[in-house]
Amino acid sequence: MVIYLLSISVVATIYAVMALGLNVMWGTAGLVNLGLVGSAAVGAYTSALVTTRMGLPIPVGLLAGVLAAVLIGALLSLVTTRLKDNYLAIVTLGFAETIRIVASNEIWLTNGTDGISGIPGPLRAVLTPLQFNALYLAIVVCLLGLVYVVCQRILYSPFGRVLHAIRDDDVVVGVAGKNGRVFKVQAFAIGSGIVGLAGGLYAHYTSFIAPDLFVPLITLYVKLSLLLGGVGNNRGAVVGAAIVIVVLESTRFLVPLIPYISPTQGAAMREIILSAGLLIVLRFRLKGLVPEAHDHLTVRPQQNTAGLRPATT
């Protein structure tokens, strides 16, 4: 039971990392990305291949995974700079599916639908499963902390201000003297890199990855986490991811207690509970449980200007 709790904590933390990545793209710069799981797959596969085929250490694998995801994110952004909203959503959705199908068919590289097994985990051979899970949780929590700091710095900076401006009006941002395109590509690359890190962390945790793990549903869970927690707020991203995973897991035990439904109906019931929860939040707390901050200033005026609300950071 303790191992189970540790394991869902690890998964929740990995989701939180992905939600932070999405918050850079969507929450801050307003760039819809329904292809998150594609970046996660690139990170996971790169890290898995670097550590299994090339036998390099896990940190090198993770770093390679992040870099690969950054590159693929930048590339995806470059080909979609003129797209917004629904159009961007469709293309990014297609991107993730493309990655998945490539992973299923390029057997020489990815071992196809059989997936890659035996991906090393830190000290997995010498530790008991309980110790391994505890160690891994410590590692992912530290990395989550690091990613959180990076995302906060981005959010509260002149760089983040330009991203916020792009979210509101990407034409006027040009009149402000900023090349919006360069900022969009950077936001996409960073977000994709963070999601890639999450993918790598998942691969080294479970020791096995296959194309059918990287389905669009994962992207939706992450998006849901951010909506629930609060779009544009990094703390919200973490809180939302934790809630989504807890709801998904706890209903695993609660639903079978409902009489007269089959296990298949029970599985569907869990999704319904999650969706209903989302609808309730969107109806009563549109901005999420931890709403976006009122402003993101790093320097405040000296004199106590009337109308300027106190710091909320």
Partner: protein, 251 residues
């Protein structure tokens, strides 16, 4: 200062600009008037790089600027505002002003992550500048409000303030007084005069003739996508062609 020669712009079958030739010399406020659909806003969009031109050339301070991106043109000191106030509803007034600040090293990703001293110092300077500007434009009391909370007139003032944050050499103002109440119009007019006195060259699209008469030393009339006539307000207003096309006959 700004030389426009033979500029054309087509939207499908509509010829919005059919060979505009005009020159704006440095200093003062130049009025740009003309009937709806004359091509005034299209011309602004072409000058500021938001719309590509179909033909002709545009020079600013002697250098070609047609074909440049809007951000490159703004960085050269030519900044515009929009007819229907556009901007950043989810940024606060102060943030909107800071956004327009030039030379902020903190806009690079690396500097944002490290929080370099240079970026913090620049931010302090920009905040001070924004506060002074806000005072001048009577926006001090709403600095911390979201831009979407402002009244129509305040949004217009914010547009001017944002543009001023870049220390422009030339300002293109697209109907800065449309939808603004009479006392505020007077205010905005006074601000524009004081901005022009600071050495900023202003080009102003406006439909209220008494304002044009009060503010503008020079007036250009556009009609059917080309320059019809230019000169002092009195000369232009006395022209029968202009009266027929735009102002309506005077009794």
């Amino acid at each position: 200062m700004l030389e426009i020669s033979g500029v054309t712009r087509r939207f499908g079958g509509v010829q919005a600009l059919s060979g505009v030739d005009l020159t704006i010399s440095p200093g003062g406020i130049t009025g740009m008037i003309g009937p709806n659909g004359a091509g005034k806003t299209t011309l602004f969009n072409c000058i500021s790089g938001i719309l590509p031109i179909s033909g002709g050339e545009i020079r600013f301070l002697g250098q070609r600027i047609d074909g440049l991106r809007p951000d490159q043109i703004s960085r050269r000191g030519l900044v515009r505002t929009f007819q229907i106030a556009r901007g950043f509803p989810r940024l606060t007034v102060l943030e909107s002003l800071l956004l327009y600040g030039a030379d902020q090293p903190g806009e690079s990703l690396a500097a944002a992550l490290i929080r370099t001293r240079a970026s913090i110092r620049r931010e302090e300077a920009l905040v001070e500048k924004a506060c002074k500007l806000a005072e001048r434009l009577k926006l001090s009391h709403v600095l911390g409000n979201k831009a979407s909370d402002l009244s129509g007139g305040q949004k217009k003032l914010l547009e001017i303030g944002r543009a001023m944050m870049r220390d422009p050499q030339m300002l293109l103002l697209d109907e800065p007084m449309a939808g603004v109440n009479p006392s505020l119009i007077r205010d905005i007019g006074d601000r524009l005069i004081s901005i022009a006195e600071d050495g900023v060259t202003i080009v102003l699209i406006e439909h209220q003739m008494d304002l044009i008469a009060r503010l503008c030393q020079h007036v250009i009339v556009l009609a059917d996508g080309r320059r019809m006539i230019e000169g002092t307000f009195d000369a232009v207003a006395g022209n029968t062609e202009v009266q027929n096309a735009y102002m309506g006959a005077r009794r």
